[in-house]
Symmetry: none
Subunit: 291 residues, 3 copies
């Protein structure tokens, strides 16, 4: 068990922390600050975690907080920081984001994202927070667990965030990719994430967004001459309905079908390439064609 952890008795804890034994007991009684185990005879045995809590408590008192407040803070900090200590920071941010979005709390969501983007690389945030949340939301929604309001709220907020990251993604001298959602398709977040990932690999992105008619796509492709065209859809019908036009576009350029709606069969039929679902891996594949 925890054979290796040192267990202090109250006198020793008092000596180490400079807090009188009476006070330690009072803190335990009044605020539940400490949770010592006991010897058979009833003596308190404090763990290192208890010792940390006492120092935290003292530091808060030093800063002028009232004892009640200091204890409250100490407990929430120690719990949210100490026990799931092994739980990575990333998990915590994910949890914060999830709660904020579910509560329709915009600024909390933004600040969770701010923290995450400050602490991790953009792709890490995408692959560990944003995309998993979208996935989860899709499933909860399919099973009737999420309100559609949450879905709308979340996707709008995340869209704004991702488009913010996208700013300037057409600059530079790399190969150019043209991105669009299939006709009728509104789910564009995965495609934007893909664009960001491809951008990080040095490509220039031109993004046409949701519900792009293939005629539009073809025209734009003619004027830009992109190295790759990526068309995304969340459901297969989007591709099915425009099979003929897809073939036509694909005959003049390097076209990929992506998103949950894409499949190897559909791609083959359209004479296009098939892009496996995960946007980040997809970026690797497309980038590899020009390495």
């Amino acid at each position: 068990m925890d054979a290796g952890t040192e267990q202090l008795r109250i006198g020793e804890l008092s000596r180490r922390t400079g807090v009188s034994t009476e006070l330690l007991r009072a803190w335990e009684r009044r605020y539940g600050l400490l949770r010592p185990s006991r010897t058979d005879g009833g003596f308190r045995l404090y763990s290192p975690a208890d010792e940390r809590r006492v120092s935290l408590m003292r530091s808060h008192l030093q800063h002028g907080l009232s004892a009640a407040e200091a204890a409250r803070l100490t407990l929430t900090e120690a719990d949210g920081d100490g026990r799931p200590q092994d739980e990575p920071l990333l998990q915590r941010r994910a949890q914060e984001l999830r709660e904020a979005l579910n509560d329709l709390d915009e600024s909390a969501a933004q600040s969770a994202l701010d923290s995450a983007f400050a602490e991790f690389a953009p792709e890490t945030v995408l692959s560990n927070l944003v995309l998993p949340y979208l996935h989860e939301l899709g499933e909860r929604w399919a099973s009737g667990d999420a309100s559609v309001g949450q879905e709308h709220f979340a996707s709008q907020l995340l869209r704004g965030r991702l488009l913010g990251l996208a700013r300037g993604w057409d600059r530079g001298a790399g190969p150019r990719a043209l991105l669009a959602c299939a006709p009728g398709e509104l789910h564009d977040l995965g495609l934007i994430a893909f664009g960001l990932a491809l951008r990080a690999r040095g490509w220039r992105i031109t993004y046409l967004g949701q519900d792009t008619p293939l005629e539009t796509l073809a025209e734009t492709a003619r004027s830009l001459g992109p190295e790759a065209i990526v068309i995304s859809a969340a459901s297969p019908d989007r591709f099915v309905r425009s099979g003929a036009e897809l073939r036509r576009v694909a005959s003049t350029a390097n076209v990929w079908l992506a998103g949950p709606g894409a499949s190897a069969a559909l791609a083959k039929k359209a004479n296009a390439a098939f892009l496996n679902v995960d946007p980040l891996a997809a970026a690797d594949r497309v980038a590899a064609t020009r390495a």
Copy 2:
């Protein structure tokens, strides 16, 4: 309106301008130079505009004018002091933006917007660059002059921009507004601009975005209890199709119909209020209900 402007008492104005309090009162009495508001107790409260007038007055006196003359001049000058010089710059930014968007040149567009937001107040940029461009694009598109690619590209880019400005728009303590596009409706930029303007008037915004089912809206409204609900659509059918549900939502909350698709008749039928087209004026109207 000018909730955020500092109002000085006579002593501080005197200290700042170096004009005795008696004289300030005399100028007000004799020439109507100043028009301070009053506290409940009767103390004068001067606005920054008053402060400017006093400096102007002093400078005229310095140049040897009689007090009466100086006052007359000050009053006429202070009114005609605003924009005209800025106008060309604004036009230039508008032109830069237009060209960049038409060329699908993302970074040029972004930097035109950067310049504009650096040089002008947010609402000025909205009302002089963004909204006019959208309007123009709509017309060109209707007449077949704009490629759909341009429209897609521009609206996606502007959406990212506006959502960036929107960050934190749910914070604070003001009344809350719930915003959504009608079912099937994808044109959300006007609604976002409206949200930004309402935000600037102290409201908190919750935004559900494109194509929001009315059931979703109703549910979200129940949990948030917003002061106002604004539903936008670019074409009337969106509203027509969901007439019955609209009535139901409107029966429990303060609902406004907005966007080019709204009309007084439709609003009346739905038992909702009608919001005239311009997003900024609309924000004024909604804000006025709670002033």
Copy 3:
């Protein structure tokens, strides 16, 4: 939600803000300036937001406003997120950043930067907020107007922010640049800004940081074979002292000298190219060599 926020009692708030407890209560009673929660026993508990309000109030009083006016302003500013709405955004953010950094207020500084980066392109933020602030700080410091603490605080915070943006800047397929500060040189913010700008132009960046021995630089260059090497220093001595070694490095690669310490003469002597001072313009020049 805000389980982790510290709540102050009135005495501590008084001590921190320098406002007597009686006055704090009077402000609450008369103007509703503060809205403390209460303990079960009825003691007031103030949030960090309350603390901010008190400082704002004090600052307004300092500027000569009457208490009633100061309170009104404080409330509208603090609740409505912010400030005069009719000012160009960029100026507002610059002012917020400046105040926050001068007050050593980290979270206010971060949120000013969050807003700025959401609203503007990274380069715009760099060239309009970050670099000017650094410049200004340098001058204030030279004239004894700024404390060393402020300088450390600001540069630490900004460095963290910029390095956050820099994440992943070595990815992709563009030409590679190797960046380093000259031996002994610790001012690296300008160089990082330069790196970011070059990254936006499609380059890959390898960054060696402060105080890089030229031997290290040469070795790294041998193994990476960069397209360009940029060495930065804030004062000329850094370059002077390592003249011979500089020549050697420059003989095998394309070397640029940058930063306020660089000059055409020094560069010529080292057989390197001279990079004009502004990091963003510098990025344009370097990028142009490979367009």
